[in-house]
Symmetry: C2
Subunit: 221 residues, 2 copies
Amino acid sequence: MQNEALATIAVLGGTGKEGGGLALRWAHKGHKVIIGSRTAERAQEAADAMNATLGGSSVVGAANPDAAAQADIIVLAVPYAAQQSTVKDVADALAGKILIDVTVPLVPPKVSRVQLPDGGSAVEAVQKMLGDGVRVVSAFQNISAHHLTKLDEEIECDVLVCADDSDAAEQVVALAQEIGLRAWNAGPLCNSVVAEGLTSVLIALNRRYKVPGSGIRITGV
Amino acid sequence: MQNEALATIAVLGGTGKEGGGLALRWAHKGHKVIIGSRTAERAQEAADAMNATLGGSSVVGAANPDAAAQADIIVLAVPYAAQQSTVKDVADALAGKILIDVTVPLVPPKVSRVQLPDGGSAVEAVQKMLGDGVRVVSAFQNISAHHLTKLDEEIECDVLVCADDSDAAEQVVALAQEIGLRAWNAGPLCNSVVAEGLTSVLIALNRRYKVPGSGIRITGV
């Protein structure tokens, strides 16, 4: 299934639902995908399960720093509480690469309330920690993991892609389109506060209107 | 055109495009509408123009404090720079009423960047200033004024309604539906940060994709 012309993608936190769903879709489209986790063993278990689902061998597992080192593009899909420590663990492997941050700053138990860290977006703190040498892009926060794992299902939710490096944002728009998602270059990294906060709004809508996975579509474009 | 059974609505800043568009649509549906402005003269001019458009007399003009005093529901649709001073001017007339805040904290010239006041939503500062005796609701930030003034045009943008008083939020959802808008009770007032920030994201999309008025639809509900 591997296609040498396609970027190798590491999904840190790929053992989780959201990261796992994205990993599955990219592997299905021919990317070599490396599942990252805190331990190589857990990562390999998730990779094996994914290969079994896809009937291939394009997914491998590794500890987060090894996964990041071997990839062209790194996706950060860990819980908010682990965001900064995971970035520190892999920072040495990120120079010059694109880091796609999927983190939503949910603060349990009130996950349907928007609670911004220090009033800003979570991803801006990551960009600040890493410096300009890493191309940090925010994306995929609002996509329901439930829908990602159904490979033939059209996902009725658009992806807002935010980055200070507009070329990196366009590459992530293309990566989203590859797996069947409508995606938009939505401006600078600070605009990610909307995508991050929107997840809590969608959880609030799910609860109030008793639906499993609300989303958004951009209209008029 | 006036219908005594319907709430009287004051639109502070109803001389502007967004407030004027909302005022026109509510007047068209039979509400008595009071246009508020800093001077009664400017307000009356805008009211006269609206009555001429509608062929009626249901719209009147008044200085902001008088407009607020005579209304059941007050809509705040002034520029961000005038938000807090306008609220102070009319505070005495708001007790027990619903105040619908439409304010977007745009900071020119970079209006396509999300720039949150002290990291939070603009409307929370208003609720804090007024105290619990006023039912503050955030809504309508993302609706293009351009579309509102075309009375027979379907508007392809949903309204996110946020309030700590859920009953007040439901009343505003109904007011939005009256004028042909899909609207959702999107959780507590702090969630307004998404609706406020989303306006800058939509401006960023308008510029990048060269469209006049992008919007959002909620899906899966």
